[in-house]
């Protein structure tokens, strides 16, 4: 799926950019150099970037400029990276946030 706005009546056509590959949750996606993780994933039709740590409900971008931290993902093993501010790199491995165990909560998930 290509969700990119290739042509625009005022901004013109998208300039040619270098295509690169990155991984998100074990699947390989194509994106363009300089794109943020959030933009590259949305262009590939991926909206859900993580599961809420406690409730497990899906979350995507909200503010898209780094203020809200809703789009936090794990990048090359590093947690809590904002997908909206982080450019993709060739071979980058991105993982969505998961629901975390809550062993001390009644009815919560065990470790």
């Amino acid at each position: 799926m290509n969700g990119r706005i290739d042509r625009h009546p005022i901004l013109g056509p998208l300039p040619p950019r270098k295509q690169i590959r990155f991984q998100f949750d074990d699947r390989t996606y194509l994106g363009y150099e300089g794109e943020t993780i959030a933009a590259a994933l949305l262009a590939n039709g991926v909206r859900a970037l993580r599961r809420h740590e406690a409730s497990g409900t899906p979350r995507g971008i909200y503010c898209n400029i780094g203020h809200c931290f809703e789009c936090r993902v794990t990048v090359d093993g590093k947690d809590n990276i904002r997908a909206c501010l982080t450019p993709i790199r060739d071979g980058m491995v991105v993982r969505s946030g998961r629901k975390l165990p809550a062993p001390f909560v009644v009815g919560g998930d065990s470790l």
Binding site: G3, R4, I5, D6, H8, P9, I10, L11, L14, G34, E35, T36, A38, A39, L42, A43, R47, A48, L49, H52, T57, P58, R59, G60, I61, Y62, C63, N64, I65, G66, H67, C68, E70, C84, L85, T86, P87
Partner: protein, 408 residues
């Protein structure tokens, strides 16, 4: 060592950097985004004279000028602390610790979040997020959307989404709650519609816009607001409908919309489902002033400027030595004004640091005048009474100076 450290590479920060560097100061800018330009980047609208304001071009002109003057720019750097040091200021960021004699905060604005049932679903985003995705990243936020919140920013970005070929099903009010307040009240929003009039090519709004300053007409306007909404650029704008809930399980499927009374109460049983694959929440902007607070700068609530604003004077000084502010951190206004304020800050910093020679004070005064003229002639305003807000701040500054004079 850097003379001036600027936080924020938007219209204010870049303009300030240019003015400082032109006067021989060494400047470094920190910004957390991937590109310089701040929120200038997404802006795209037609001016009253028919010319297009293209924020990407404006940003790149400022960026090139700053680079040609030797300004150092660090992108992807989130500043989380600023503190006063013996000989100036220190900013701690995700890309190291930076020090300078002078610190300028040009952090811009943030959007008010508007909590509505279902707003955490993937596909729901702030209106500014949609602007950045569309015009900066050139990625489609969806096929068909609903905008929740009726205000100037929402109307401007709705047009930008439409230009990119994205369909908008409706613009509606948010559900009335303690969080949404006046923005969910048709009477209140009706009043603000008159300020959208110069931007919106809607016969109804243009005609009504002139009458809406009279309270009696506002009541009539709300009562007789067209059932099918008023169209702005073909997008139905509903002043008498609100978003009750955003529905979907793994992502947005649509918005449940209900009729509201003239004061914003939901009419029971009037709800209808509007299918959509994305939703934009438009709560308006507030000055992003946390770093000023962290720095120890006093803040003052000024509703006409959009919220809490660092205390400052017309030459962008704060009460703290070597700390300056410029742009939307001082109040919500358009990008041209932010640029002009940045120039004021840059000249002010130059003057305070003995740069620019004898003519500097006069140049600074001219730059301050320029900001005032831009404000007076602005075709559209985020807040209609912004000049009153500026006057309040100027008075607070004078009072502060007088109190300090009296106590010393």
């Amino acid at each position: 060592m850097t003379d001036v450290l600027i936080i924020g590479a938007g219209p204010a920060g870049l303009s300030a950097a240019i003015a400082c560097a032109e006067n021989g100061l060494r400047v470094k800018i920190l910004d957390e985004f991937v590109k310089p330009g701040g929120r200038l980047l997404g802006q795209l609208h037609q001016e009253p004279d028919g010319k297009w304001w293209n924020g990407i071009e404006e940003a790149s002109a400022l960026h090139e000028r700053a680079m040609s003057l030797g300004v150092e720019l660090v992108l992807g750097a989130s500043v989380f602390a600023v503190r006063r040091k013996e000989h100036g200021w220190q900013a701690e960021s995700t890309k190291g610790v930076h020090q300078a004699r002078v610190l300028l905060l040009a952090t811009g604005a943030a959007e008010w979040p508007v909590p509505i049932p279902g707003w955490t679903l993937p596909g729901v985003m702030s209106i500014g997020a949609a602007q950045v995705m569309t015009n900066v990243h050139r990625v489609r936020v969806g096929r068909r959307g609903v905008i929740i919140g009726i205000n100037l920013l929402a109307a401007a970005i709705a047009r930008e989404l439409q230009l990119a070929g994205i369909e908008l099903a409706a613009m509606v009010l948010p559900l009335r709650s303690t969080a949404t307040g006046e923005s969910a009240n048709p009477m209140h929003v009706m009043k603000s519609l008159s300020h959208i009039a110069p931007l919106a090519p809607s016969a109804w709004i243009r005609t009504a816009g002139k009458l809406l300053k009279y309270p009696a007409f506002r009541q009539l306007g709300v009562r007789f607001f067209p059932r099918g909404g008023v169209r702005i650029w073909g997008i139905p704008v509903h002043l008498r409908k609100c978003a009750v809930e955003i529905y979907g399980t793994s992502q947005v499927k649509g918005v449940r919309i209900a009729d509201v009374t003239p004061d914003g109460r939901v009419v029971p049983g009037s709800d209808k489902d509007v299918p959509a694959d994305f939703v934009c929440i438009a709560g308006g902007l507030y000055p992003l002033a946390e770093l000023a607070a962290v720095a120890g700068c006093p803040l003052m609530p000024v509703p006409e400027l959009g919220g809490f604003v660092p205390v400052h004077n017309e030459t962008m000084q704060t009460p703290l030595p070597g700390l300056y502010v410029a742009g939307n951190i001082t109040g919500i206004e358009n990008a041209r004004i932010a640029m002009a304020q940045g120039t004021v800050a840059g000249l002010s910093i130059s003057l305070d640091n003995g740069k620019g020679g004898a003519g500097m004070r006069e140049r600074l005064e001219q730059a301050v005048d320029h900001v005032r003229r831009l404000r007076e002639s602005a075709p559209i305003r985020f807040h209609p009474r912004v000049s009153e807000g500026r006057a309040k701040m100027a008075e607070a500054w004078r009072q502060r100076q007088a109190d300090q004079g009296a106590s010393t």
